[in-house]
């Protein structure tokens, strides 16, 4: 199971969404599919149509910047970050 960490900005939008959760997934896209099944609408908050990751949503797999099709392994850590930007 991948160890998925989500940004604090998502919690208020989806009641019950934890900051950390374990997800069985082969890619970043699979992680988002899992989240979408549990919390409908969350894909739109993370992805543009395509889908591609939103420009200010950064995903790291084991510390490496990832794209939506980046592989996720059994013990991967997946950090989803709302980029530090804006004012």
């Amino acid at each position: 199971m991948a160890d998925v960490r989500l940004p604090s900005t998502l919690g208020p939008l989806f009641p019950g969404l934890p900051r950390h959760l374990d997800v069985q997934a082969a890619t970043v896209s699979d992680v988002i599919d899992h989240l979408e099944r549990e919390w409908p609408g969350i894909r739109d908050r993370l992805c543009e149509p395509g889908p591609t990751l939103r420009v200010h949503i950064h995903v790291y797999v084991n510390g490496e910047r990832a794209k939506i099709d980046t592989p996720v392994a059994e013990q991967s850590r997946v950090d989803v970050i709302a980029a530090i930007s804006g004012g």
Binding site: T9, L13, G41, D44, R45, P49, R54, H56, I57, A82
Partner: protein, 358 residues
């Protein structure tokens, strides 16, 4: 008298101001998790409040509160163009509701509809084929901060009829719920070259008299204009105003000839001239104008007021409200003769709407 609720969209979320007497106001918010709220409206039929918001991180959505802000949900399900069109949505800009039909105008220009109170959406129209539509997605043809569809206004009696403003292009009317559109810009002024006879006008704000559906006013990039035939033709009524530029406008709820505007400097500052805050009123359909500034700051008030940031209520002694780019809300309950500041220190204000509650 019912309670008065002001719905305030700001750069950092939505806020409400509530009052039972229009003298003492109670502020609530921020709502919508601090997302920039471009427009918030109240549906008098369902009692729901909707807010069009676009987060720079999490994208655009329409928020809904069924209980005057106690609880909120949001959805953007269906608010997207087909991927193969290459069109993207940067923001949801404006809302309108009538008879169970909830519309949201978006950028790139298009209109989406919800029939289930904002839970799901479908594309209603992109005004494809209308003059100018072949180039209005070109960024070089768009102003900074482009809103796409900057305003939607339903007819009060016929839910198949509404008007849409395409920012920097002009006003369009449909009478068959978007099966067809007609440009409604005849008589408007434009001080720049235009490729099409019927479009290329910069309509900032359209308002319609509640007591005479043929009487409309619009604040344009270049001048104030009046229509006496529901937008089919326009006559300029700028003379007597300090500038021809502004965004906000409001009609009187009971008098077809009374109308309010807030002229701004036409340069890129777009603030009140010389730092003196004022609303201007006509009582004769634009033949003459009166400056209304009692109670408004008359020194160093370099504030702007955006296109959706002035509203009027329907009380017998009608209330007039506007919000500024620097976070103040001003109110008048004597038709603009005197003003009171009822809120301060809000984020920059995008929109103000007023609802009678209870």
């Amino acid at each position: 008298m019912s309670a008065t609720l002001l719905l305030i969209g700001t750069r950092k979320g939505a806020f409400f101001l509530e009052s039972n007497d229009r003298k003492t106001w109670h502020l609530r918010g921020p709502f919508c998790e601090g997302w920039p709220v471009y427009h918030a409206i109240h549906d008098p039929k369902s009692g729901a409040i909707y807010a069009a918001a676009a987060s720079e991180w999490h994208g655009q959505a329409v928020w809904r509160s069924p209980d005057l802000g106690e609880t909120w949900t949001h959805s953007s399900e269906g608010i997207a163009y087909d991927d193969e069109t290459g069109r993207k949505i940067s923001k949801v800009s404006t809302l309108a509701v009538s008879d169970g039909r909830l519309l949201v105008g978006v950028e790139a220009p298009g209109i989406f509809e919800s029939r289930d109170e904002g839970q799901t959406w479908s594309l209603l129209s992109t005004l494809a084929g209308e003059p100018g539509s072949d180039t209005w997605d070109d960024p070089s043809n768009q102003p900074p901060g482009h809103l796409g569809i900057s305003a939607l206004m339903f007819d009060r009696d016929d839910a198949d009829r509404f008007w849409a403003i395409v920012q920097g292009v002009g006003l369009f009317e449909t009478t068959d719920y978007t099966q067809s559109w007609t440009p409604r810009n005849r008589g408007l002024r434009a001080d720049w070259p235009r490729e099409h006879e019927e479009v290329g006008f910069c309509v900032h704000k359209l308002v319609r008299s509640p007591v005479d559906g043929d009487r409309m006013f619009q604040q344009n990039h270049v001048g104030m204009h009046r229509s006496d035939d529901a937008g089919q033709t326009w006559t300029e009524i700028t003379e007597g105003l300090p500038t021809e530029f502004g965004f906000a406008a409001a009609t009187h709820p009971h008098d077809r000839d009374t109308f309010y505007v807030i002229p701004l400097d036409p340069g890129h500052g777009r603030t009140m001239p010389e730092g003196h805050a004022a609303v201007w009123r006509t009582r004769d359909a634009g033949s003459s104008w009166q400056r209304l500034d009692s109670g408004l700051p008359q020194r160093d008030a370099h504030v702007g007021v955006l296109r959706e940031a002035m509203a009027v209520d329907g009380e017998d002694a009608s209330g007039l409200y506007f919000g500024t780019s620097t976070g103040q809300i001003f109110a008048s309950t004597d038709e603009g003769d005197t003003w009171t500041q009822i809120a301060d220190y809000l984020p920059p204000i995008s929109s103000v709407e007023v609802a009678a509650i209870g």
